[in-house]
């Protein structure tokens, strides 16, 4: 057993599972978005605003944002632990990435509910 305290779920198994489930959610969200844009070639602001005013779209979007946050952290944590060997620099980069993901997540929520 290798000890770790900075990975997402404290366990390699849960990280692995979350990475796969979040990937599926992100794929569905991407397919939906691409499809929506293709079916609305003359998209205007009221239509776009109307889409995001609906509760199901906000739930779907928030789910995608949370998935993106978890997915990004698990992926970048893996890259960081592969390539950055000095503990001080590695931990500092981890904090910067974590902070950025948190900021983007809160910002995303604000955009979703702010309109």
């Amino acid at each position: 057993m290798v000890t770790n305290i900075t990975n997402f779920g404290r366990s390699g198994l849960s990280d692995w599972l979350i990475q796969r489930v979040s990937a599926i959610i992100l794929a569905l969200y991407t397919i939906f978005m691409v499809g929506y844009l293709l079916f609305h070639p003359a998209l205007d602001y009221p239509t776009w605003n109307g889409l995001f005013a609906q509760t199901w779209m906000r739930i779907f979007s928030l789910l995608a944002f949370l998935s993106l946050a978890a997915h990004a952290w698990i992926g970048l944590w893996t890259v960081i632990t592969d390539y950055i060997k000095p503990t001080g620099i590695r931990f500092a980069v981890q904090i910067v990435v974590m902070l950025a993901i948190f900021v983007f997540l809160v910002w995303g929520v604000q955009v979703l509910w702010g309109a």
Binding site: M1, V2, T3, N4, N7, S11, G12, L13, D15, W16, L17, T78, T81, D82, Y83
Partner: protein
């Protein structure tokens, strides 16, 4: 005369300040020699050349090395399989392990990861008078797992093992780990799995299958790693 141009990694830490590549001309007499035969000819030209070898038939796993960029056993790799269009052969030690001298590497960390997965049968029930029996069906589950000769070609072809050799068990160790997880006579499954569920030991595998591509015995560590994940999932969901 059919001369083969061979470039060999040389490093003697007692006399060289840095590793270098030495060029040799080897007369193959038009034969499709094994790479180990070429090394034997080179050894006659320069007796200071160091490499490991023993059985010369792909059983002992001593002469794992990097031939034209790909890991394999020198004794069972024919020149026609590795020599490129320019007719050149480049020999380097297995990547990622400390070099002891020339093509000889220190396999310490590789063995340490092998030791970590407890590569022996564990059974807490009283031993029967003669032996623990196994059905032919259960025995079949070990095919493709027990044949590993620990040559280290797979683990040293794995970037995950290069970056984290002290944390990631590596394909060779994980293949053997699954060999005991899959054994119907082994009762330590829960303890074995508990030691593997962290983010490094198994899950640092990214499934790029370099291990499968280089295994001289044709084994599939990636499939074994997938099976370990399935067992972990079944235990934890």
């Amino acid at each position: 005369m059919s001369m083969l141009q061979v470039s060999v990694y040389r490093y003697n830490p007692e006399t060289d300040s840095a590793p270098y590549m030495q060029e040799f001309q080897v007369d193959t007499q038009g034969r499709d020699l094994m790479v180990l035969n070429v090394l034997e000819i080179i050894k006659q030209q320069d007796s200071s050349m160091a490499y490991r070898r023993s059985c010369r038939e792909g059983v002992c796993g001593s002469d794992g090395m990097n031939m034209n960029g790909s890991n394999g056993l020198a004794c069972v790799t024919a020149l026609s399989e590795v020599v490129d269009k320019r007719g050149k052969l480049v020999l380097r030690p297995l990547p990622g392990l400390p070099v002891v001298r020339d093509l000889v590497v220190d396999m310490g960390i590789f063995y340490k990861q092998y030791e970590r997965i407890q590569p022996y049968l564990q059974n807490d029930t009283p031993p029967p008078a003669i032996e623990r029996l196994q059905s032919p069906e259960d025995r079949e589950k070990l095919d493709g797992l027990y044949e590993c000769i620990l040559c280290a070609c797979c683990s040293t072809a794995c970037p995950s093992f290069w970056w984290n050799p002290e944390k990631f068990v590596g394909p060779a160790g994980l293949l053997q780990s699954y060999r005991f997880l899959a054994d119907s006579r082994d009762t330590a499954t829960r303890e074995r799995l508990a030691d593997l569920e962290d983010p490094f030991s198994v899950f640092r595998c990214r499934g790029i299958m370099n291990c499968v591509a280089v295994c001289p015995k044709g084994l599939n560590p990636t499939r074994a790693i997938g099976k370990i994940r399935e067992l972990l999932m079944a235990n934890a969901t």
